[in-house]
Structures are given as C-alpha cells and as structure tokens.
C-alpha cells in the first residue's frame, strides 16, 4: 500500500517502522466494532475499505424502518432483522477478502474471554451505560496486563466526539463522566399539572400513568406498550389543547432519542477509523486523546488531552495490598489501615462486592455492621477486593488483603 510505503515526517517510531509489517498487521489484526447503527455502518464500511480484514461486530438491535435514512447498509427488506448480521453480510459482499463476524446480542452477554481476542475495539454506541460497561471491562483486562485500546465515537445531532482510551494508561470513559450531556428531563410538576409541550404529555403518560396502571416495566420494543403510550399521551394532549404528539415523537421521548445527523456520523466514524488505522500500522501519531466536533454553529473542532482522575472509580485507584495476620479480627485490620501512613484514614468504612463489612456512619449502618468487628477477618474476606472510603477523604481505596 502506497500510503504506508514512505515514512511520514511525524512518524514516532521511525527506527522500528516497517511498511510491509504494517500492511500485514492491517489484514491480520482482529478488531471489534460495537454498535451497527448510524456510526457502526460508517465504521464497518471505512474499516473494510482501509484494509482491515478480520472484523467482529456486535449489536443487540434489529433494523427499524426509521433507520434507513442514514444506516445505509440496510434496505427495506431488512426491517426486523439483526443489524449486526445484515451489516456484516452487506459489507462482506461489497469488499473482497473481508471477514465480518456478527454477534446479535448485548455486549454484557459476552464473557470477558471473548474480548481478549481483539487488538482494538471501536465503539459507536448511543448508550452511556453500555460505554461505561465496556470501559470498565477493558480496564479490568488491563489489570491482567491485556491492554486493548478503545476508540470511542459518539454523536448527538450536529455534535460529536472521538477519543482514544488506552485502558489504565490514559484517562478512561469514567474519568470524564461529567462531560456527558444529561438526559433531557422536565419538571415533574409541569408534567403533572401544567403541560405546554407535546413532550410534557408523553412524559406524563410514561412516568405517571404507566406505573400507576401497569405493574410491568415499559418495554419500548413491545408494539402494544408503545401504542398504549402513544394513545395515552395523545388523549392527554387533546385535553390540554396541545398538538404535535405523534408516534415517533412518543418513541423519541420515552427512549430519549436525539435526532441523528448522517454527516456527523460520517465525520466521527472517519476519525475513529483513522485512529484504528494509525494504531495498527504505526504510520502516524494518534489522537491524544479527545477530539470534539461541533457542527451546529458553523464548524469547529478542538483536540485536547483529558486528565486521568486519580480518584476515578474505574481506573483511578490502583489496588493496594495490605498485609494482615491470619488471627486478626476485623477491628484489628481497621486499626492497621488507620495506622498505615500512606492511607491516612481516620473513620474508614469497608465493603466487598458481597457484603458490608463495617460502616462508620450513619448510625443505623454502624449498628448493623458493628458485630463484624469481632469476627475473624479471614472468615469475612477471601481474595476479593475491599473498598475502603472515609468521609474526610475525596478518594476511595481498593484494597487486597494478603494474609501472612
């Protein structure tokens, strides 16, 4: 490939750079694309046209007719089928020698081992929860010295961002969680008593009427549920002389959908795939580490580096090893923690994934956990991590106990 043949002026590894190896790496590297929606379609197309040959794609969604305007790998006949499966087949049929393995499931359904096979993961998701999950999963793997870079793209209307996360090395998704735009919500009193917008009527149906009438959770993929939500919202709107409640608006509000713009997806996907290309081929320096793009007020991009938060609950606190005697009870262990110079806690509270060990406050939890103080530490905790927090300190500590 011509592009890789010459060493670029900015190449960071000029001494070790080997064009032939780069070309080979491109076709041998197995990458995972998460999401086969607006961004995912673009990403799959770009990757396969840049020379990636081994791609997995995972998406739990099926194709809806409203996707067809921008998710260009899908046709009318595909409505109702798995996004991952249709996208994989389409791209394979258009590009030679590319193998795309589709996974029609949630990312959470796959075991940790599944993710270990990839050299890089490219994420084009619209869900904060799913991103947090994959981010935490990759940081966990980094703890086992398996570092899989995460290239994350996201769009919201005319805005978007791409970023490169080297789990446990630079700032992770959780480090910058406060950058996430919160879900649009309306004051509950407006919804309940003085609706003015069609959205208010839909939120009323969704948040007040649904739980009052139904005992099951609302499922946006169940047509009966959606129909009920639409009819209820419509009736509410009519009684307040509000117009504009439609079925698609209803779905948009209850699923919190922000209209997707095809060109934003294309720009962000291009940036993500460039980063994947540079990562695998070493041809040029990578994005370090965050690019925001804004296309709503003229056009603007800005690149900067996020700071890795030392108190990030996912990647921040490295595990601290505390040695303990086998015969210690919990109280003696807590005393040990208090006396460790580099911890400096005066009122620690401790818990594991499975139980509360000791809470110094509030009163009710202190009383409930006090009995553990006299129990043998080795009966309470095995090799699972112990979370230690202190009201005085902004950080939390992950501790692993090693018995002498």
């Amino acid at each position: 490939m011509e592009l890789l043949g010459k060493i670029g002026p900015y190449n960071e590894v000029a001494d070790e750079y080997d064009a032939a190896a780069s070309v080979e790496a491109l076709s041998e590297s197995k990458v995972l694309v998460i999401g086969a929606g607006g961004l995912g379609c673009e990403i799959l197309k770009n990757l396969s046209l840049t020379g990636f040959k081994k791609i997995h794609v995972i998406d739990m969604d099926t194709i809806d007719i409203s996707n067809l305007n921008r998710q260009f790998l899908f046709r009318l006949k595909d409505v109702g089928k798995s996004k991952a499966e249709v996208a994989a087949k389409f791209v394979e049929s258009r590009t030679q020698g590319v193998e795309i393995v589709p996974q029609f499931c949630k990312i959470q359904d796959k075991p940790l081992d599944y993710y270990k096979q990839f050299v890089c993961i490219i994420c084009g998701l619209d869900s904060v929860e799913a991103r947090r999950w994959i981010n935490a999963t990759l940081v966990t793997l980094a703890g086992e010295d398996i570092i899989i870079p995460l290239i994350d793209g996201g769009t919201e209307g005319f805005k978007g961002q791409s970023r490169v996360i080297f789990p446990s090395i630079n700032s992770c998704y959780e480090c910058t969680l406060d950058l996430v735009t919160p879900k649009i919500t309306y004051p509950v009193c407006t919804i309940a008593t003085t609706p003015r917008l069609p959205e208010h009527c839909i939120e009323w149906a969704n948040e007040i009427e649904w739980p009052r009438i139904h005992s099951t959770k609302f499922d946006a993929d169940n047509p009966d549920h959606v129909e009920w939500m639409y009819q209820t919202s419509l009736a509410r709107a009519e009684s307040f002389n509000i117009t504009g409640v439609t079925k698609s608006l209803t779905l948009g509000v209850v699923k919190n959908i922000i209209p997707a713009i095809a060109s934003t997806n294309a720009i962000i996907a291009a940036s993500c795939c460039n980063e994947a290309f540079k990562l695998i081929t070493n041809c040029n320096p990578m994005l370090d580490d965050y690019m925001m793009y804004s296309g709503d007020e003229s056009i603007f991009t800005y690149t900067y580096k996020n700071i890795k938060k030392s108190d990030c609950p996912v990647c921040g606190n490295d595990l601290k090893v505390v040695k303990a005697e086998k015969w210690w009870n919990l109280k003696e262990f807590i005393e040990e923690i208090k006396h460790q110079k580099d911890i400096q806690m005066t009122n620690p509270s401790l818990s594991t994934k499975f139980q509360k060990l000791y809470f110094s406050s509030p009163e009710s939890l202190r009383l409930a956990t006090e009995k553990n103080l006299q129990m043998k530490l080795s009966d309470l905790v095995g090799d699972e991590e112990v979370i230690v927090t202190d009201p005085k300190l902004p950080i939390s500590l992950r501790v692993r106990i090693v018995f002498n």
Binding site: R132, G143, S168, V180, E363, S364, E385, S396
Partner: protein
Amino acid sequence: MLKLRQLQKQKQQEKQQETISSESKVQSSQIRLQKDITELDLPPSIKLQFPNEGDISNFIITIQPREGYYKNGKFRFSVGVTDNFPMEPPKIKCLQKIYHPNIDLEGNICLNILREDWSPVLNLNSVIIGLNFLLLEPNSNDPLNKQAANVLSKNKNLFASNVKSSMRGGYVDDEYYDHIM
C-alpha cells in the same frame, strides 16, 4: 501497535500492579454510593433505615420536622439507587399518602434536583436536605397536588389546618390521607 507497546513498557516501569479477578470487583456505582452514605451529615430529625441486610442501594428515610406546617409528622420516603448512579439521580418516593402541594397522592415528588437539575456532582446528602426543605417550606409554584397548592397560595391558615387534619389521618377535600403522627 508499537505505540501501545511503548505505553505499556512505560507503565510497567512505573508500577508492578496486583490484580484481582473481575468477578469480585465492586461496581463503581456502589463505591460512589458507599462514599455518599458514609458522608451523610444530617440533622437529628432525619433517620435512615436499611431494611435489607447487605443492600445499601435501597433504603428508607424518615423525616420528622421540628417546625413548620408539618411539625411532628413522621414522613417516610423510599430511596433507590441504580447501577447507573451517579449519572442517574436516586429515585425517591413518599411512602405515605400526604397532603402536600409538591407531592402527589402516589408519592411522586416535585424537587428539581431529583430530576431536571440533578448532576453527578450532587450527592445523596444534597437530595435529602432538599427533601427536608420541601417539608419545611412547601411551595405553591410547583404544584403536584393542585388543591393543596391553591389553598396554600390563597389561605395560609386554612392550609395549616388542612395539613394538621390530614396528618391525623382524615379527609381533606374528599381525599383520605394517611395517619402520620
């Protein structure tokens, strides 16, 4: 992947790290919740109960105002925190049927920091203090119980006596309210 190798080498030189199996890792929402709960700094009129052993994500708050319209009532609220905390605010409901302009008969509460003004930088303490404030200073601007709000804005004395009789368990405007004294 040379870049990654560089970074990895750097990191290893910095630190030899102990590892832990992912199955026993604590979720980040739980860590944050543990911090929030142990940092609570509440007046003695507010008590917390954890009915389920081992579960700190669901609990009950009891507020017994020492002043205001709702003086001496015992108000119980359920608090539920999801795995998406603190991105999502805690879910709080009033467990009794009470006469309050900003709380409806199903227990839904109109408090801005529980919804539209929630942000991850807020914590459980701010939410509970907000709840307490709502009992001390009910307001007629954000009505969830319209009748109560109307009375409050027009006739404060009538509102006070309505609150009193509702708290003893009784009817106000054809609606039965729970006994909460």
